[in-house]
């Protein structure tokens, strides 16, 4: 069971897009019955523009959830088992154990996860461009995300100036975001100390 959660972590980028193009095609998908039940007959109907945010969320969730499980798991097993034993002896239920002991102890990793997932969201470029290419332009457009727009300007329109301008805009936005997280939240303590 645990393994089945990790395995999709091996799937990224093009392979992920490939899999989900098939999964969203009612004629070949193992989820075909579900898709048909929802009223979809063709892949093009599923891959419509207003479905794309949900589709990319599913794609990213499919591959990243497992490695996050692994990260949190690794932190949990490096915590001394004496802590758990003490809690058990004090009559801690599994729920209390999770909410009052395990989650606070790995809160740093959980916030790290939030930061990185925001970063992934920001960096979405491979999936939308590939989905566009592989469906021969049926899904999305070459500038669906801002990142794509920047590389579209530099690659296709050879407008390096515009690409650089978008890049600087993105840089300012992400710098503001990350500096806020680092300096204004308790997540990032420069003087991190072990117990």
């Amino acid at each position: 069971m645990r393994l089945s959660y990790y395995l999709p972590g091996a799937v990224a980028g093009p392979a992920n897009v490939l899999i989900w193009i098939f999964m969203f095609d009612p004629s070949v998908s193992p989820f075909g019955a579900l898709l048909k039940g929802l009223g979809f007959r063709q892949a093009a109907e599923v891959l419509k523009s207003n479905h794309l945010p949900l589709i990319f969320t599913l794609m990213v969730l499919f591959t990243t959830l497992g490695s996050w499980v692994l990260t949190v798991y690794t932190s949990l097993i490096t915590i001394s088992s004496e802590v758990y034993d003490a809690a058990k002896v004090d009559g801690c239920s599994p729920f209390q154990m999770a909410f009052y002991i395990k989650i606070p102890l790995v809160s740093r990793q959980i916030l790290y996860m939030v930061v990185l997932n925001l970063a992934f969201g920001f960096q979405l470029i491979v999936e939308p461009s590939l989905l566009y290419g592989a469906t021969l332009g049926a899904a999305g457009n070459p500038a669906w995300t801002v990142n794509q727009l920047a590389s579209f300007y530099s690659g296709t329109l050879l407008n390096t100036g515009a690409a650089a301008a978008i890049s600087v805009g993105l840089l300012v936005l992400s710098l503001a975001g990350v500096l806020y997280l680092i300096l204004k939240t308790s997540f990032y303590q420069i003087d991190a100390e072990g117990d």
């Binding site: 089945s4 392979a15 840089l171």
Partner: protein, 306 residues
Amino acid sequence: MATGKITLNPQRSRVRSSPLKWAGTALWVSVLLLFAFFFLVPLFWLLLAPTKADDALVLRPPLSFGNLETFGQTARNLLEYNGGQIWTWARNSIFYCITSMVLTLLLCIPAGYALGTAKFTLRRPILILTLVTLVMPRVVLVLPIFLEMKVVGLVNNPWGVILASSFFPAGVYLLYLHFATSLPKDILNAGRIDGANDWHLFYSIALPLAKPMIALVAFFSFVATWNEYFLVSTLLYDDRLYNLPIGLSNLMSSGSLTPALAGNFSPIKRPEVALAGLILVLPVILIFLATQRAVRPDGLSGGEKG
């Protein structure tokens, strides 16, 4: 309150069976199974697709096994495509990954250790910069990296990709977190009192204790480079230097996924592309299974007692 009695193995001493508890367990198990289904079915489909011919993908049930003969044909179609180009891509992928993983570890471990255990000037700005580079969209860096590599003559050169992907702030940060929070300071101090110098402390104490985290960083680095798409597509334009992801996306974008398209006589159709996807995915799964053994708790408890 639960039993309150002390047992040698508290994990096993669950309070047994009220109907409510069973309902709770049933709920958890079904949620877990639902997610397992979501994770496994697509992989299973990918595994089975190359055993069927293109039209059988539509006509046969999605999760059925075709036959080995068809699989052989699919494999031949893919492996012989364009003079065995996929072999070149696979060799490139392996070379980029291993070289970059070694460089990443050589850089990340000392950096994480220093940031996690020592106090020095510029430590705070370095940590902040590490996080900034972690979160920054990669497209922001694409122009600078390209121009940088152009200056040193590494555009369309494998080392451009290797060097750029050896820059791995996530590894530095994970190891920093590990050394700062999970490595007891008293163990280092005890070592110091026993006359160990800094190199000894690092090599004989910190490094062995960090093995699970190092394995994790090595694994993340390998997966990141194995799946590297952006750098390769920016820095390399010779298709003999491509890695598997770029190769796969070339196969995908050639119209092979839309068989209804008139004039598609290429031997590369949906089963062949699925097999290429499988070739890209399988090594990571195997390496994951191998490194999983390294990601185990090391007995730290009791290290500060006595």
